[in-house]
Point group: C2
DNA sequence: TATATTTAGTGATTTTTTTCACTTAAAGCT
DNA sequence: AGCTTTAAGTGAAAAAAATCACTAAATATA
């Protein structure tokens, strides 16, 4: 079972949609419905699911609860993951307060910032620390995921500290590519690049 | 000159890095440096640039200012684009105040929210309106880009209104896939799916 | 019960994307 | 001036991804 990143990404979106269907009480879903919901084709969805060695039911589609459970097991999406947010500015505090992360199994257990002023003024139920405590807190609390929301020039340093302290996944909101070891999973959320891609496609299409 | 989305995305990231290099006063850059900065290989970078019918200089690499200018022209990344943000909650207000969008040519000229209370209390230099005014304001101000930061269940409706009012590009922060006409450029920024992808790859790698 | 219909499963094929491997141009060096 | 080195340019090859086209299973229908 060799999963490409693309398959992983699609299947994660399928998982999110299955949660929606489950909440709505829908029992079965076709590959075509899943495809529409995630922006893919039905054959791609079926191939993805079959790569994961999972199956549906002829003429009925996929059992929503069952598939969600099986995907959860295969990709460990049911497992709760401890995460932290570094950089508690405009974006970082928005992320800190986003309750849905908790619902989806991402427990934000710490926030860090370089500014003591800011830390004192932040109003949140989540523990916030000075960034100097990052290594200790991440190691002690066994935090697995680091979310980086510091200015670009500070991002690589934070990534390095997070990795050194045991983090195994990094989501980076700063607009620079970071270098992390190959065994650390890493994704960028670069809003400006995204806007540029849209603008460029508006220009050339 | 047929550009794939992948090429567009990479080249947009190259463009961002060229700005950094320009600010640093660096005159030439190799395909390898560019590749490292955006997380690609040197041959991919060279191919991308050559697809755009642009060239560098033997043994010197690419002229930073020149390539940036040429990319700007080809993809109209120099052109200023008017944008608006719909949904002025935690995330929307963070986006509203992000000055770097302006620097990068994305002029946020309006914000919209359904809650009059919120609109009255928001402290920003940008004009904010009730969402009922969206269609008028977007059309009148010739806004080309819509940034969606409303709750999931409201997102499709907003997308529809934006498109109807003339928007040609949509950046969606809500965790659902939206349906827009094919001639409207569209991208998702789904943080939860991103975290899931990272977690899944932590599990299977 | 037989037949039609729907939808998953899948090997083959096609398309897209990336990488390789070599050529060419320019600059620096002796 | 000639040799060496460096880095872009590029057609060909390889790899990856997506799609097609068909099979099979299950349900509904007549
Ligand atoms: N706000 C947005 O809408 C937006 C949009 C696109 C990109 N981004 C990116 O997201 C990141 C955060 O943006 P923001 O608007 O929240 O910025 P911000 O300036 O509001 O917040 C940054 C925070 O990081 C803290 N910080 C600085 N250096 C630090 C360090 N070494 N360790 C720990 N904390 C440190 C600062 O004290 C501050 O609180 C930036 O890289 C920005 O480019 C933000
Ligand atoms: N905050 C985060 O860190 C975060 C993380 C991941 C995803 N998101 C997504 O981004 C979106 C915004 O998140 P948020 O945390 O800012 O939410 P929020 O609840 O703080 O803000 C949503 C805003 O949208 C407004 N709104 C609701 N319906 C509207 C409508 N029909 N038209 C106009 N405005 C309307 C509300 O009044 C509110 O101000 C959501 O879809 C959320 O799932 C946010």
């Amino acid at each position: 079972m060799k999963l490409s990143n693309k398959t992983v990404e699609r299947v994660c979106r399928v998982f999110g949609y299955l949660k929606v269907l489950e909440d709505k009480g829908i029992a079965f879903v076709s590959s075509l419905d899943l495809a529409k919901a995630i922006g893919a084709t039905e054959s791609t969805v079926r191939k993805d699911i079959s790569i994961l060695e999972l199956t549906g039911f002829s003429r009925k589609g996929y059992d929503v609860m069952l598939l969600k459970k099986e995907l959860g097991v295969k990709l460990q999406l049911n497992k709760k993951r401890k995460a932290c947010i570094v950089g508690l500015g405009r974006l970082g505090t928005a992320l800190l307060d986003y309750e849905k992360f908790q619902e989806d199994g991402f427990e934000i257990v710490a926030g860090f910032d370089a500014s003591i002023n800011k830390i004192e003024r932040i109003n949140t139920v989540i523990d916030v620390f000075a960034v100097d405590d990052l290594e200790n807190v991440v190691a002690q609390r066994k935090i697995e995921l680091g979310i980086i929301a510091v200015p670009a020039q500070a991002a690589q340093g934070i990534a390095y500290k997070l990795v050194k302290s045991g983090v195994k996944g990094v989501l980076n909101f700063s607009p620079v590519k970071l270098i992390v070891p190959k065994n650390v999973m890493y994704l960028d959320m670069d809003f400006t690049s995204a806007l540029r891609s849209i603008a460029a496609r508006m220009a050339v299409c």
